[in-house]
Symmetry: C2
Subunit: 961 residues, 2 copies
């Protein structure tokens, strides 16, 4: 027994690795060189919501759905760890652990510190949840990891900082995730699910362990190990209270005495497993979903096996002991005699059997995925505002951080939770939005009020269905835009209003040109829309200052001030038309076919676009071949994507700011092709009001873009969690010979930001940006097809137990989204920043005239004293503690070689950068901000940011008043 008397002091951010907290040097079990070392790792995989909500899982309510109560897991595991210093356990999801921690007495907390120091309770990963890797944005991944690791650092100090990360359940693994982990200082990454063909190949070649080169730009690498049995115990050796396996009876007097036979079975399994690994260390993952509610059942049986096998198989040189992922990782590393194989691509798509390609969840629950992307952005903006004003965290903001973190769980943003659980995620994010709205309101008053007047600013969460109470019911009103990026940015503002004349006045008192556009019928009819707005008032907000606020005053004009408003009409064209319909504006020209109404040409280039659907496979899942398409699995019935109804009419809307062509497909489905003045992209605003299932067939909708002149030879490119790009090749995998048994589903990949196809010879490229996580493929030459919506009538038998048949207001769930299409090369990164990080709009009614308003409120304010270079994203700006410390991350968002100009390193200085912050000290930390890199960075020295690099700092600040 280790005797450790120095307690781990409660850490703060200052006490990183070098803090006073003490981790026992004997934290890892001793490895015997000449033995087969069997690392028994007790763990519980605790989904942060899935079949039950997070709180239900914690407290153990709703157990008729699933017997799971994480509170008892920690209660009972800790009892076991305290009783026996040999025992280990790994804790992964800080959402649960922190909840448990909050409810403990100081006595218990002190005892927990002890087992952390002894290495008995090891945190692995340590994020708020175990985030999804396909559909989460890198921004959210970094945030959710930082949130969890910060809790650990604040609670236990550096001795609790995880070295290993434990992605045992996500359905495929992204390269960006690996790169992020490497940048966070993790040394060992363990994966549970890789494609079964990949796994077979790796097992045969002893390549279950590898070095993953996760970023070409950064050169990051991380040791990566694939677990032998996903994350479960050897079959038959599950001793949880939830399992039915034969428990170990070592009493020779009992008629059930079995330890001899059972040990033989386990040793046989161990020997088989060890054949597929390089060193004399193997890991047995002793746990499953929500196990260790009653930890003792597990440990009692493991104790018996360990004791017996170590005695009886001593001469066979097999040794079993409790261990942890980091101890296992270290043991493997030390035992390696030659370099590990290398991995440069990612682990997508993931198939678990020939007909189970987990590519459906790339798109499942598109409105929720849209919400998560929206709140991600809102949270960043909110943290920025909070950081530069009150400079400390609030409960409101913390709630939003936690909600957003929970939303990254691999059954949350993935769309693979039960409906009632998804409702809970939405509720949490909605609370976040409300809280954020309050932060904005307070901060805006703080920053903009000149004479003590205050405005209650409201965030309109329903702008995506052209609904906003303030703009519809009040005049005059103020719209304040907050530009959350670090450089000047322009934006087309679209405000839902009732019919009439409006005048828009800017911060300088100038009337701004505006355009009045009728809202499309399909939007007006959207179920649940509760609005009087019939039109959108549109104007351009030009050159918003970096991290800056600007207010516009909108009123119903008296006299002739309304003349700056252009009133657009929608002009209907019945199909077939006599000639093709051409939309030309602001230097762009789109041609739509006279018969079909489909886009056929952009400028001179042949570019088609069409909404289509795949009929979903039905099945009872009794055999692989009978797998149904479901929340996880995409499995179309055949390879043909069918057309929706023919387009019967097009409408055109012309104007000085935007110009549109509207395709009317049916009562609730339409597309709007929108051109913006001064913009080079084509916005495709699509509305799918609900997928019909009256024929009893589930459907999966795609939006297919085809640039038939681009010969891409089955190659296409997708981003990884919104950052680095990956080359995809139809029916091909880099590290193993793949047999793609589902020709459509098996070629889908996740896309978070954009995808493109390119003709290597002509260098012509079609890029499509997306506004939320989706699945994408390029099944036809020159094409990109994005799956945008799914409605299914069968469960796919991977546990969720519900068909993904989303409804709202009594009908199939309606979705509205955008794609931005560009044919220019290399502007995608810039556009992606624009699409992801638009200005935040806040609204307030006012009784003041524009002039009066300018007397009372500052109408423009920059929170940065100077713009950052155009290739730099102010990734993070958030309050870090209650003492004015601020966390800031700068991101170079171009990869090496992506663009001649923007892929160059840049230099940034912190000196006088923030208008409201007086920086007292700067410390550079690792990406997750739980390890100090450079304690006293001279704030006057500019620092360099290389392509794709993110540098993270903690600034000690005072306010500049």
């Amino acid at each position: 027994m280790h005797v450790v008397t120095i307690l781990c002091l409660v850490g703060s951010w200052l006490k990183f690795g070098e803090s006073l907290c003490y981790r026992s040097p004997n934290a890892c079990p001793q490895i015997e060189k000449n033995f087969l070392n069997v690392h028994i790792v007790p763990h519980s995989h605790d989904d942060v919501g899935w079949l039950k909500t997070v709180e239900q899982y914690f407290y153990g309510t709703n157990n008729s759905i699933q017997n799971a109560a994480v509170q008892y897991t920690y209660d009972s595991v800790l009892e076991e760890l305290w009783k026996d210093s040999e025992k280990k356990f790994v804790s992964v999801e800080m959402e649960f652990f922190s909840h448990w921690w909050k409810e403990q007495t100081s006595h218990v907390k002190r005892k927990v510190h002890k087992v952390v120091e002894r290495g008995q309770l090891e945190f692995v990963g340590g994020g708020w949840c175990m985030n999804d890797e396909a559909t989460a944005s890198y921004v959210d991944i970094i945030d959710q990891m930082t949130l969890g690791l910060k809790f650990l650092n604040d609670t236990f100090g550096g001795c609790a900082a995880p070295k290993a990360v434990w992605q045992i359940d996500p359905f495929g693994h992204s390269k960006e995730q690996a790169s992020i982990f490497a940048q966070m200082g993790f040394e060992y990454l363990f994966l549970g699910r890789i494609d079964y063909q990949d796994k077979a190949s790796r097992m045969s070649k002893k390549e279950m362990e590898m070095m993953w080169n996760a970023s070409e730009s950064l050169g990051t690498e991380i040791f990566t190990g694939v677990l032998y049995n996903t994350y479960g115990p050897p079959p038959g050796f599950c001793f949880d209270v939830l399992c039915g396996d034969e428990t170990i009876v070592d009493d020779p007097d009992s008629p059930m005495f079995n330890i001899d036979r059972r040990s033989k079975q386990l040793v046989a399994y161990i020997l088989e497993q060890s054949k597929h690994y390089r060193t004399n260390n193997i890991i047995l993952t002793m746990g499953e979903d929500f196990h260790y509610q009653y930890a003792h059942a597990w440990y009692k049986n493991l104790d018996k096996l360990i004791k017996y096998i170590n005695k009886v198989y001593l001469n066979s040189q097999i040794r079993l002991f409790y261990s942890t992922p980091s101890c296992y990782g270290e043991a493997v590393k030390n035992a390696l005699v030659e370099a590990l194989p290398r991995k440069t691509d990612d682990f997508f798509p993931y198939s678990s059997d020939p007909h189970a390609y987990w590519t459906g969840y790339f798109t499942s629950r598109p409105t929720f995925k849209g919400l998560v992307r929206q709140t991600s952005h809102l949270l960043q903006a909110c943290k920025q505002i909070q950081a530069v004003t009150v400079r400390r965290l609030s409960n409101v903001l913390n709630q939003f951080q936690r909600s957003q973190a929970i939303g990254q769980h691999h059954d949350a943003v993935t769309g693979t939770a039960k409906q009632h659980v998804n409702n809970d995620y939405v509720l949490r994010l909605d609370q976040g939005i409300r809280g954020c709205s309050q932060v904005f309101s307070e901060s805006f008053n703080h920053l903009l009020s000149l004479n003590g007047s205050t405005l209650k600013q409201e965030y309109c969460a329903m702008l995506n269905v052209s609904q906003c109470q303030t703009t519809e019911q009040n005049t005059p009103f103020i719209v304040t835009l907050y530009n959350p990026v670090a450089f000047r940015s322009s934006h087309t503002v679209r405000l839902p209003v009732t019919d009439g004349s409006y005048s828009v006045t800017d911060h300088l008192g100038r009337l701004v040109a505006s355009q009045m556009v009728p809202i499309a019928e399909a939007v007006l009819r959207l179920p649940g829309r509760n609005s009087n707005a019939t039109n959108e008032l549109i104007f351009r907000a030009q050159d918003l200052p970096p991290l800056g606020l600007r207010s516009y005053h909108v009123k119903t004009p008296e006299g002739k001030s309304g003349k700056r408003m252009f009133r657009s009409r929608a002009r209907t064209i019945q199909l077939p038309n006599k000639e093709d319909v051409v939309l030309s504006a602001y230097g762009l020209s789109l041609k739509f076919d006279r018969q079909t109404g489909h886009l056929v040409q952009i400028g001179n280039q042949s570019v088609q676009q069409q909404l289509l659907f795949y009929p979903a496979m039905e099945g009872n899942n009794s055999r692989f071949e009978f797998r149904a398409s479901g929340a996880y699995i995409f499995r179309p019935n055949g390879t043909t994507a069918f057309s929706l109804e023919p387009i019967t009419e097009l409408s055109t809307v012309f104007g000085p700011i935007i110009t549109e062509i509207r395709q009317h497909i049916n009562n609730n489905t339409m597309q709007i092709f929108r051109l913006h003045r001064d913009e080079s992209f084509i916005e495709l605003d699509w509305i799918v009001g609900g997928i019909p299932i009256e024929d009893g067939i589930g459907k999966e909708y795609i939006s297919r873009f085809t640039a038939s002149e681009i010969r891409n030879n089955g190659t296409f490119y997708t981003d990884s969690n919104g950052r680095e790009l990956l080359r995809r090749q139809l029916n091909h995998q880099v590290t193993y010979k793949v047999n793609v048994t589902e020709p459509t589903a098996g070629n889908f990949y996740p896309v978070n930001s954009f995808a493109y196809v390119e003709d290597k010879s002509t260098r012509s490229r079609m890029t499509v940006l997306n506004d939320r996580a989706q699945g994408v493929s390029s099944l036809l030459p020159g094409s990109l097809e994005f799956m945008i919506h799914r409605r299914l009538l069968h469960d796919d038998a991977f546990g969720v137990g519900e068909a993904l048949n989303e409804t709202a207001y009594g009908v199939g769930l309606a979705v509205r989204g955008s794609h931005w299409l560009v044919l220019e090369n290399a502007v995608a990164r810039m556009l992606a920043q624009r699409m992801t990080r638009p200005p935040i709009l806040a609204f307030s009614p006012t009784t003041l005239s524009p002039e009066e308003f300018r007397q009372s409120f500052r109408m423009e304010l920059a929170l940065l004293n100077r713009a950052l270079p155009r290739n730099v994203n102010l990734l993070t700006l958030e309050p870090w503690d209650d003492e004015g410390r601020i966390l800031v991350r700068f991101e170079h968002f171009f990869g090496v070689g992506e663009d001649e100009r923007f892929s160059q390193p840049v230099s940034i200085s912190l000196k006088d950068l923030f208008a409201t912050l007086n920086i007292q000290a700067v410390e550079e930390v690792n990406l997750s901000a739980n390890r100090l890199i450079n304690k006293l960075l001279d704030m006057n020295d500019p620092f360099v940011l290389n392509p794709m690099e993110i540098r993270t700092f903690i600034l000690s600040t005072r306010s500049i008043e």
Copy 2:
């Protein structure tokens, strides 16, 4: 917190109540006079086998059938008790607790002693199991209670002796059981299941608590309380890991905060419950089947509720606390202001709803019930032999004791366990038989060998199908009879043999008259019978000595010694016959109808007998009305009992020792009416080779005896567990107005020994003795119908989940049994002793002639120096420890007023009673032998035994060699 430093010393039988072991005076919570005191009693109801075997339940294997692992219950409960001295738990079944105890370290054992002394861990009942009350014999009940309580006394000393008994699950409650408990010194008896109409009546009258006068002869009484919700928690307040109820959330920040609402619900329940009880104390039974595997889940939530309600409802004067059954009982007793209502009958039959009369289990699994009765007797004999020879326990005997005790569990002898579990019970008893055979063999040699020669004696367990390897395959062979009763006894010996001539020589070298009878065809055809025997060799063993051995030598005679053997032939009479068939022998005369072949007359009295069947109700159990007849429930479809096939022939067998009439009903079903020389009863040996179900209908077979001249007015009498008699009246209950909603099933009662009907005016009586537990009723005037076999095709939805469709050797289970019919009054008790306690037969081949054998072996030996009075049963004679102490019980087996002569008190002296034992000291103890009554009884003084009294002594002995 109680500070208790004196450890409970490990007790021995010497340290009863007055031992050094110390029970805290604060073991019970303090009662507040002006409050409603809510006793929260955590408990786990652990069936000693039901859906899983005993060992599977202990170790938690076979969890797919039922999630249950008692080892974890004790592991985890103890952890909780050690952590918090307020917490309590009750332990009931010593089979499980002792198993657990055996596996603990001395450190743990010391800690368990502490919580026992503090009253935190309270043993209630404390028997080896919670025995059934309908189908268990009083002999087995006393034994199984003694076994458990002895373990407790040996382990913890007197401070662990239970005061309360906890019969929470048996399906009805017997008067004899209550009397036994009272004689064992229990103060509080708690019942879970009483008839729903009885319960409603008691609730309305606040008569849930009562004094039960459990024996008219002995005047015993015991406080008896009926639990409010069987033994479960208030609905919605089940917090076990097996439950799905909403757990308690007291964190006001949680969106699931519910303690306020949940407390309101519980308080409402408490107030409602308290309306039905007399005092300001109520008990909440917080547990269910196999709960507290993970005790912490239960306690954590209870802790929260107790704390919150005691605070918030302080002004409502409600107080919750952990308590135990004995603390609750004591609190009620102290709070009573007037005498409790009295109860003089029993709690049979038990119905849980209008169509669920639990009267099927009185007969379910008739072969198992027969085996249990057989092994009960064998075990007693074996203990006697062991007591008077080696005078100490052996593992073999202890195994048998435990197996027999387990067999008394309320899902064992009841026949309500799953088939695989019943197989396990049988296996255990079979081991017991083998062990006993070994004990006999050794003891016989020890007692009988004159010159060091040894015999291997075998017990023939299959004599009931006329099969015995030794007698079939060897000649000469020895049969040794052991008469286990304390007076001289005679017996008809029937030995399976192959055809031929045999001569039987007794201990005095005299040839004994014998009779050779062909075995009936239906017996020869019994499935599984593996025997060459075609005949039975029959002779009378006259006047076996008290507790005595006698050997007979059997051989194929040379010369004329075979002349003492009478060869009987079976003479067949085809029906209809010209005249009625009359069987007259040894002073008895039976008449069988010439048409039907049924018994119609005995002497002058009209007595009919017939096998009939009730068709079983089918149903899906979805509503009360759709209840199926099953292992627990008897529910015939209609009130008519149908005839089996007509009897086509009778056979008669005449002879000097036995005379028979055999009714051939069909290929596998027959009855043999057997008269014995020198006996006054008619033996009815019935064989039901399997119940046909080809028509898809389950059937319940009865044997109906009708003495139509006896006008009994719906009244009949049954024994209670083989002891005192109870008056039964059709459609009537003593303490409540009953509406018998199942006119047949609702009038069945358990019978263990005998039942009779009587004509009050003529004093004529028909008594039928049975050889195993059965259900009986008297639905027709003058009749007694015994249910003898059941074969059902549906489960009755009370948990067992299997239809009671027993098969063996691929066909429906065959049963062979006996009824003894007598028309004389008052001989039933004597006959019951004879039927229950026949001599034990052991067999051995020999090469010796009778004369040689007499040189080598003593052929008769009495282990008592004198016979006891004819109304006294040597109930127990067993080794008690390893130091020569012997437990002995004397039983007066007549009740007050049953018989003019035999119901008188008798006087018994221990002096020189046992031939092989030199008694050094005598201590009188209570019935369960865990409390000293009289330390130094003078062994020279005779003691008096009153009617129905059992007196228990522990004798310190030395051998007389």
